[in-house]
Each structure stands twice: as structure tokens, then as C-alpha cells.
């Protein structure tokens, strides 16, 4: 599944990183502790997190992720948006919990 299909299917909002919407999603990961995510998330994953600050973008770039979904209704900080646009990493938002969204995505991947 491509990131843009994920956006449509689950009603996600694209907050940044439009140019990366054609990336292919190879899996998923949930986590809010950055080093834990860095060590365990798979390459090409969509990452669900409540963290919305700028440092999530470096994690996504360095781990070669397909996209970040900020769950729980938060919106990305302006610095997060700028960085994600510069790096072409889609940052999506979802009002519900990581648990709920990951269950729905898991069933589709």
C-alpha cells in the first residue's frame, strides 16, 4: 500500500511531506520512546506515535520510514512541518489512539 492510499482509506490528514505520498508502506510500528523505535522499527514502516516535536523527523529519515502518523489529536510543531517538508517525509494526523488505528491498519497490510 502506498502512503496516499493509507491517507484515503483511514481518513488521515496530511500535515506535511506531500512529496513523499508515493512511498510504499512495508509494515507498521507503534512507539513513543524514540530510541526504542530507532532500534526496533522496520525500514519502510508507517510509524504511529503521540510525539509531535521536530526530532521525530530525523528518526523517520534515518530509519527510512514511509510515513509518520501523529495520533491522539496532536498537530505537528511548526519545526516538524518544515523539516518533514524538506526531507519529503509524510506527516499525517489521526484523532483517535495508536491502538485503534494500528488495529485497523494491521488488518489491511
Amino acid at each position: 500500500m502506498k502512503v496516499k492510499e493509507l491517507v484515503e482509506k483511514f481518513g488521515l490528514k496530511v500535515a506535511a511531506g506531500q512529496t513523499g505520498l508515493d512511498k510504499e508502506i512495508k509494515g507498521g510500528y507503534c512507539g513513543d520512546l524514540l530510541s526504542e523505535v530507532m532500534g526496533n522499527a522496520g525500514v519502510g514502516c508507517v510509524w504511529l506515535t503521540v510525539q509531535a516535536h521536530q526530532n521525530i523527523v530525523a528518526v523517520a529519515v534515518l530509519r527510512e520510514m514511509a510515513a509518520i502518523v501523529i495520533t491522539g489529536g496532536s498537530t505537528p510543531a511548526p519545526e516538524t512541518v518544515d523539516k518533514a517538508n524538506a526531507e519529503g517525509i509524510p506527516v499525517l494526523t489521526y484523532p483517535g489512539s495508536s491502538f485503534e488505528l494500528s488495529g485497523r491498519i494491521y488488518a489491511e497490510l
Binding site: 524514540l34 530510541s35 530507532m38 534515518l62 527510512e64
Partner: protein, 141 residues
């Protein structure tokens, strides 16, 4: 392959630019068509060492030395140093401040990630002087 050496300044508490040096290194190795698995391991280790400098250390440099056989990644800071390196290496050990924990730092997994993803890890530290982390990654083709 000729050997390449690059160095990037990294500043303490600079969360705005944190991670950028590691992204530069990753892009450099990618442009050299370096082994993909090695590039990924260097990216993880660079990120963890760079964040540790920013969060716990002091101003310093992240540098990389590349030839066809191996990559050496070094991160040196002029911060407070690490008193007990063996303790710091333990998974879950962290002295991160509460405000950083709220940002998702402080799992105490950075150094274990560096150990797991490098072929050799050497940390030297002089309390009050700073910390020097050196990691080697062998190109297995």
C-alpha cells in the same frame, strides 16, 4: 574507493538541528553506493550518539572516516563525561531530565542500540572533560 573524511559540528541542547549530521553521513554513504545494511546501522548509531551529545554531553563533533573496508564514526564532546560507563551501557539506565523524557528520550536504549548495530564500540570519557565514542562498521560486501 578513495578514503573520505568529514566532520560536522554538533551543539549541546540544539534540538532544532539534532540529527542533521547523521542524515548528512547517511546521504554521503548512500551516494558512495555503500552496502545498504551498513548504511542503516551507521544511521542508527549516528543518531543515538548525536542525540546523546545534544542531551547529555557538550559541544563537539561528529566525524566519519570511510574507505572500502570500513566506516569509522566518531562523536566527541566537551561535556561532563560519563562517570560509570558500564552502568551507562545497561539497557534502561538513563539520567535524562523529565522534560526530555516527555519528548520520548530517556529509554536508556541509545548506547545498547549503538552496541548492537556497530561491529566495534569504544567509549572513553574523562569526567569533567568530555566523552569520545568511536564505532567501526566493516563492509562485508
Amino acid at each position: 574507493m578513495t578514503s573520505i573524511h568529514k566532520s560536522y559540528h554538533v551543539a549541546k541542547n540544539d534540538f532544532i538541528h539534532a540529527g542533521e549530521a547523521s542524515i548528512h553521513v547517511k546521504n554521503l554513504l548512500k551516494s558512495m553506493n555503500y552496502n545498504q545494511d551498513l548504511v542503516r546501522r551507521v544511521a542508527i548509531c549516528g543518531y543515538e550518539a548525536e542525540m546523546n551529545l545534544v542531551m547529555h554531553g557538550g559541544d563537539g563533533e561528529l566525524s566519519v572516516d570511510v574507505n572500502s573496508e570500513r566506516v569509522i564514526l566518531e562523536v566527541a564532546d566537551r561535556g561532563p563525561g560519563i562517570l560509570d560507563i558500564e552502568l551507562a551501557m545497561q539497557e534502561g539506565y538513563s539520567t535524562a531530565k523529565e522534560e526530555y523524557r516527555e519528548m520520548g528520550f530517556g529509554a536508556g536504549m541509545g548506547l545498547p542500540n549503538m552496541k548492537k548495530n556497530s561491529d566495534a564500540l569504544k567509549i572513553t570519557s574523562e569526567p569533567g572533560q568530555g566523552t569520545h565514542v568511536s564505532m567501526t562498521f566493516y563492509n562485508k560486501g
